[in-house]
């Protein structure tokens, strides 16, 4: 079984064949589920920890500090230590809370994130679901996550939680429109919702460049709306510490709080991965039309490295937003979405359709 860093199709295929030959079909399928599930769980847990560390370091850099330095080399083990601490904390149950909904809420949030991560192509062959409705599936399953936030806020029996949940619900519902519409612009351009086709279509140039103006507008709108979708600053008024303590997760402690925390960072990863895949070519190396030598040099870098470089680029931009912009008020957030982003998006889709029809793109 050769291990190929440039194409994982053979590797995953070999694992599948091996399992089918070794076990009954029932066992083989079950084992595949377990393997895929464990792989995603491990990836999400480790990547989440890495993102928390990255966030603290980026924040520190913007505030001219060093950030965590004591635990491990350059504080690398700090988030792991924090996570162990979170696991060992007591689970506090508010007295008059709705027990069932209170316990259910974190799971809805994190399951929605897990469902969404399934369609993201990491490298050739490293994608568990490749639907022909990939992007639509992603927006549809991630729209379920907001229910968890609303339930968490309501079932905690706490005013701050309820206000946080209402704000967050209004915000996510409105910005979902912009996310979907900016993705729709790119679907019009790509002519497909399937992730593999979208990545393949960017072999000769990323959609961000080939679709010129409408693509660029869609990318900027997507970044803004995506930041709002993940409830991150400057759109973090749902958990504004100074006015709402911590918003919808005020009453959560220990591992349940960790679920909300982790889900926020997975959503950050998903938004960045979608931006990287739809606008920046996903795992496709950087290619320029006819520069053969340059294209070959770029092909040497494995797709997995390309993918994570792009994802970290987008993640850095979103973190940059958080630590430089002041928090928006609730009316400003709704004005931004309904009076600016939505009309811009609608005009942008028309422009994109016009450009695709007249073939005025590269």
């Amino acid at each position: 079984m050769g291990f190929n860093f440039y194409d994982f199709t053979a590797l995953t295929h070999n694992i599948h064949v091996g399992l089918v030959e070794g076990f009954s079909p029932f066992m083989a399928t079950t084992l595949e589920w377990v393997i895929v599930g464990t792989a995603y769980l491990l990836f999400v847990a480790l990547f989440g920890l890495l993102l928390v560390y990255a966030e603290r370091k980026v924040c520190a850099a913007f505030q001219q500090r060093l950030g965590p330095m004591r635990v491990g080399y350059w504080g690398l083990l700090q988030t792991i230590a924090d996570f162990i601490k979170l696991l060992m904390k007591e689970l506090i149950m508010p007295r008059k809370a709705d027990r069932f909904l209170y316990n259910l809420a974190p799971f809805i949030v994190i399951i929605a994130s897990f469902l969404a991560i399934a369609v993201i192509p990491f490298a050739p062959g490293l994608q568990s679901l490749d639907f022909d409705i990939g992007l639509f599936y992603l927006t549809s399953v991630s729209s379920v996550g907001v229910i968890g936030i609303l339930l968490a806020g309501w079932s905690s029996n706490n005013k701050y939680s309820l206000i946080g949940a209402m704000r967050s619900g209004a915000q996510i519902l409105s910005y979902e429109l912009s996310v979907s519409l900016s993705l729709l612009t790119m679907i019009v351009f790509a002519g497909s919702m399937q992730f593999s086709t979208i990545v393949e279509g960017q072999r000769d140039g990323w959609y961000l460049f080939t679709g010129h103006i409408p693509s660029l507008v869609a990318f900027i709108v997507f970044l803004i709306a995506g930041t709002a979708e993940t409830n991150r600053g400057p759109f973090d008024l749902a958990e504004a510490e100074s006015e709402l303590t911590a918003g919808f997760h005020t009453e959560y402690s220990g591992i349940k709080f960790a679920f909300f925390f982790l889900a926020e960072y997975i959503n950050l990863f998903i938004i960045s991965a979608v931006a990287a895949t739809v606008f920046l070519g996903g795992w496709m190396p950087l290619h320029f039309g006819h520069l053969e030598a340059f294209n070959h040099a770029m092909d040497v870098i494995p797709p997995l490295v390309w993918f994570f470089l792009k994802v970290f680029g987008v993640i850095f931009i979103i973190m940059w937003f958080k630590w430089t912009f002041p928090r928006l008020r609730v009316d400003q957030i709704l004005t931004l979405e309904w009076k600016y982003l939505l009309p811009i998006n609608l005009i942008n889709i028309l422009l994109m359709a016009f450009i695709v029809l007249t073939k005025f793109h590269f």
């Binding site: 022909d132 409705i133 639509f136 209402m166 519902l173």
Partner: protein, 178 residues
Amino acid sequence: MLNEFMFILIAVMILVFSVLTVLTRKILRAAVYMLFVLISTAGLYFMLSYNFLAAVQLTVYAGGIVVLIIFSILLTSHLSERAVMAPFKQSLFSALATLAGATLTLVTILRFSFIPNVGADPNFNITDVGNALVSYNREGYALPFEVVSILLLAAMIGSIVVAKKEPTLRDKEAKTDK
């Protein structure tokens, strides 16, 4: 075998949560049980490899309608509120009506001779849906699509008109002052 197992799991989930939806006395729990019913239905569509309908089910029902229902519950009711127990007479007659409905449905289903089907067309994809939606041929859906669009537009304008505040007397005075 795995297919049957999954089907039984989803079917049991749909049945159990449907019953729980109407039996619970806490209104938000009813909404959440209904969410589970809708998600399980989406699971059935995924099992039939009808991905598009499954995603529509998730977006429209789970992500749209249930969120709106939960939102309105959040705005109007409090955690400690419970629905009043229905009087005995009312529960008796509703139970009878439910039983009659269930019997009628069961009899109809059992008397219908189903034709075994091999499942969805594997070549069917989202492009066909898109083409059918804007095609004006015999089997196209351009006209229904447009009609539904106009209906939605009318509903949106209507809701804006309903929600719009009439300028109060004080607002008018403030305007004339300027």
